[in-house]
Symmetry: C2
Subunit: 618 residues, 2 copies
């Protein structure tokens, strides 16, 4: 059967054959888990995604949210899957069962998540966003705050948000002017306006808990003087019962390129009455606390970019198999030759293999970082736990920006495979592209991620974390070198890793020199090239696993004989597909990344030298 | 004043300083033209675009076309600019005044066109599409057909279309099944269905003339048996008066990602009564005739991609100057430092300069091909005319696919500069992106263009046309080599030209070998790399012109002294901007194209080797 959202065989490959989720079953935390249970979770998630969420994808886009007198009405079709997500406990898979979670590994959460997010991010995010709000409260809240909010948020009985942006303060959070004034009862009166608040108001839950960044009167300027407050839409009494509506109201929703079913709200606090908030954590520690949520959100946003890409790829590959058009190129001059499925055309195959390589590379990359979370929690060795935390920090900007950027490009390429059909709303790919585009923008634009990578992450522990990461790639290179079929690819990837290291050294040094602006002007191309090298790593790693398994099935068979075996054996075709993806990527895409690295090393400063007037348009 | 659609200074640079439109005033055809007249045309076009067309951009998108009982109602706001385009005779600028044209050079037509198309392609295309229909009739029609249709189409009193695509025949036109049966009066009865017909039905004109591809009963299969017919919506009597409605009816319009104001129609012919058509040209010559229109349409589609890009770039650069956010990177740790316009941030400058280089490179490229049209018409020497015709043929797929592809990427980058604002419909960039995306798909997908380039164009006259084209680039390289400031760039571009030539040789040879499918799997990356080299050529050419002019103003001044001069002198800033664009492109973008060429030469066949099953998704 044609896969509609994600490729289950490939998910299983990553879980069991590449990243060995079963090793976690030996740890204390996951000792009660087994393969059968994991399989069941993924199977159930898939069934739920396809049966309950996917049917809302197009309808939610066409209907959109409706703003009426301060209320936001979501598409009617979202109500049932929302309730089912709550009832079936899909919203906090990795959290402690004591507070409404399922205690599953992060890798499994991603596997299940592909089927939710890829089915309809706009719908699912209503149910998932409370997790980040809950996490901050779990980490920084008082016992009372946890008691009041945690389970309700983790189980999505209440919604959560993230209230940072103001009209004059988007990427520059430190410029915010929302203020907080202490009240006699220990709470604070919040006054200000926020914009672009995802799901800031909606009618899916009886309450919404807003984490709001604000400046306590008299606090320092910039990010140092920012505190964070828990601001419920409906006040929550000490006993957990709901009190009066709080003065945080939605003043409008945005019309957007995509995500029409997701409410992007302008919020006004304290404009008519008093908007009460509870301080979360210490005064002026708002940025530090928010960054816990922000980092989680960044990983989720990259994941969203990837999920839209994998869905778009599934649509494209299925379309290419079914759409009959044009003769085989070998029959070019013979008007009587039959038309063939477009998957036979070389240019279509190029597009599909480009998509496949990126989708599968991103899947491995995302699950690898999920495994870092698992190991940071479960590894026996403390230094191993710390090492995985470091990898998470280093790779978060890459997950966010690379998967968002390439994910969008995959969606666009999927439209291209569909030809004219792809531009119409009769096919889902154009919506996947429109929805996906936001991933490069919210929770910190690509440019912000690139600055984070260059300014904070490359230099972590004096560069030791980055070197350790390169070492991980090299270990795969060494394994591949030992295999005849893969050795040329291994050599090519090794050269790319060396160039990445050399470029990182150069740009990292420059970032601390008087020419630091030149370095930062190259931060984005550097980041994207690093992402490309990571794709090469993941795809070669996959090939290292696939090659011996393929050999067991097809042996030395080549040419038509091999093709016949691949047609007969599903696993053989899959493993061969792994090797072809790696080969394609390393030989046809990686050279482009090397060009990008060469450009970064050329370190041209025209971007800085050009006068503001010289950009034209005046 | 901030430019809203296109940069007039840059248009004038290309017209007068780079491509010397004034040389045409010496030819017989344009002997009555002068600079003042050209300036006036462009100024009027700009005023018309900004005042009359631009205000319909967003409204037309939101309102969209309405399909009601076979009728298509266009957005109300389109009616006035449509009438004004007709009254002011903007629709056929290059045609003979005797048939409703203005007799202007193609270069001037492009300059004016930027302000129409960039203002709202969806609206303008209603008035411009009849030109292609008219052109075919001018070239292949009988005197009677010209008398009946030509002026009405060129003046946009009647609309025109292009009826190729059928549900089973998109890129594969030869698979069409619409049939034509000769009638006793010499006309034909057409029966069949067409889809995706731009402006197939609308209420802006009293008549619409459809050029319809169909197969006369008994004609050969494939493209060889296709004829082309003139099918009026309302029959046109011998005396030019309107007769009865013809049985060509719209059965529905498509919902699309963008171009909501443009009617994409399904058409049914002969389903109830008789749909009469006039044979245009000879029987079975339909493809040859249609290709005249198709080539014009391809150039126009590339132009549309570019026009959306230049408008998006104008919005981005103006936004970046006005949007105050974040401190200067040099003040990173100082919370008291003032926020600055985002154009000061290195990553924003990178995005803007990337956009500027591509927009300006594409402008020069498009006007260069327009000049080829002018010289093909006006050059005194016949071999020079033929040479320009050859360049048009060689470069048409590049204009179509490169400008469509990079144009879309420019729109997306413009969204990125806008941050969260760019994703909302409060700013025009997301619509420019949505509208622009179709350019890579219709009138032959990018993949089709790449096959045309590799399969037909590279080998024209045994490769002599391509070599001649490389020679054109080399002559600019030589001029740049003679200038100290540009010599390193010239050397870099020369190396790229050599690699392009070498790669073309390799892939061209492979395309005629048994491994031809491998070559065609690389046709698209080759085409895009060739486009990048063309950008380098155009930008270096611009720098060659700008460098001495800049030197005259700023002399040897450097550093802050030079910056002060650039701030003072608009021309100095412009010329310096030309050199910075060239430098940025050649040092930071061209290396990526070299990587792409290296990948093409590596000639990997994984795209062909992977089994159909191996793509996964089953």
């Amino acid at each position: 059967m044609a896969q509609q959202i994600a490729d289950r065989r490939d998910i299983d490959f990553v879980l069991y054959e590449q990243l060995d989720v079963e090793q976690l079953f030996k740890t204390q935390k996951h000792r009660d888990l087994n393969k059968k249970m994991v399989d069941m979770v993924v199977t159930e998630a898939r069934a739920f995604g396809i049966k309950e969420v996917l049917p809302t994808h197009s309808e939610g886009d066409r209907v959109g949210v409706r703003f009426e007198n301060g209320k936001v009405v979501v598409p009617e079709c979202y109500r049932r899957p929302y309730q089912l997500m709550v009832e079936n406990e899909w919203t906090s898979l990795t959290e402690d069962p004591a507070v409404g979670g399922q205690g599953l590994p992060h890798m499994v959460m991603r596997a299940a998540g592909e089927y939710f997010i890829g089915a309809n991010y706009a719908m699912v995010i209503y149910a998932m966003e409370g997790h980040g709000t809950g996490k901050m409260i779990e980490l920084f809240g008082t016992e009372k705050q946890k008691e009041l909010f945690l389970e309700k948020l983790y189980t999505a009985q209440w919604g959560g948000t993230m209230d940072l942006t103001e009209p004059q303060a988007g990427s520059d959070v430190g410029a915010l002017i929302t203020s907080a004034k202490p009240l006699d009862d220990g709470t604070y009166a919040i006054t200000g306006n926020k914009i672009y608040i995802t799901n800031g108001e909606h009618d899916l839950t009886e309450n919404i808990i807003h984490p709001v960044l604000a400046r306590i009167e008299g606090a320092p300027a910039g990010t140092k003087g920012i505190s964070i407050f828990i601001v419920p839409k409906i006040w929550v009494n000490e006993d957990g019962s709901l009190g009066e509506p709080n003065d945080i109201v939605c003043t409008g929703t945005e019309e957007k390129m995509g995500l029409h079913g997701s409410a992007t709200c302008s919020m006004s606090m304290g404009s008519k009455g008093i908007c009460r908030g509870l301080l979360l954590g210490e005064e002026n520690a708002g940025m530090k606390i928010m960054f816990h949520m922000m980092n989680e959100a960044r990983l989720d946003v990259g994941f969203m970019g990837f999920c839209n890409a994998t869905a778009a790829f599934m649509h494209a590959v299925n379309f290419a198999r079914e759409r009959i058009q044009g003769r085989d190129l070998a029959d070019g001059k013979n008007a009587e030759a039959p038309s063939v499925p477009i998957i036979r055309h070389p240019d279509v195959r190029r597009m599909l293999l480009w998509m496949k390589a990126h989708v599968e590379g991103m899947r491995s990359f995302i699950y690898f970082v999920a495994r870092c979370f698992d190991l940071a929690e479960c590894a026996a060795d403390e230094s191993e736990r710390a090492r995985n935390d470091d990898f998470i920090a280093l790779l978060t900007p890459l997950i966010k920006a690379y998967c968002a950027g390439r994910g969008f490009e995959v969606c666009i390429e999927a439209m291209q495979v569909h030809g004219g059909c792809g531009y119409t709303m009769d096919y889902p790919v154009e919506q996947l592209a429109r929805d996906c585009k936001i991933a490069s923008i919210f929770e910190g634009t690509d440019g912000i991620q690139a600055m984070d990578l260059l300014g904070r992450k490359l230099g972590m522990k004096n560069g030791a974390v980055f070197m350790d990461f390169l070492g991980e790639i090299k270990s795969i290179v060494e394994q591949a070198k030992a295999m005849d079929a893969l050795s040329p690819m291994a050599t090519a990837l090794e050269a790319a890793v060396d160039q990445l290291g050399e470029t990182a050294m150069a740009i990292g040094k420059q970032a601390m020199s008087p020419e630091f602006k030149t370095a930062f002007a190259s931060a984005h191309p550097f980041m994207m090239a690093m992402g490309d090298v990571i794709m090469g790593w993941m795809l070669l790693w996959r090939a290292v696993i696939a090659a011996p398994k393929l050999f067991k099935i097809v042996g030395d068979a080549a040419g038509e004989k091999k093709q016949a075996l691949l047609e007969k054996d599903k696993n053989a075709a899959f493993y061969d597909g792994q090797i072809q993806s790696a080969r394609y990527f390393i030989r046809s895409v990686l050279p482009v990344a090397l060009g990008r690295l060469a450009a970064v090393r050329a370190s041209d400063d025209a971007t800085l030298k050009i006068s503001e007037r010289g950009f034209g348009g005046l």
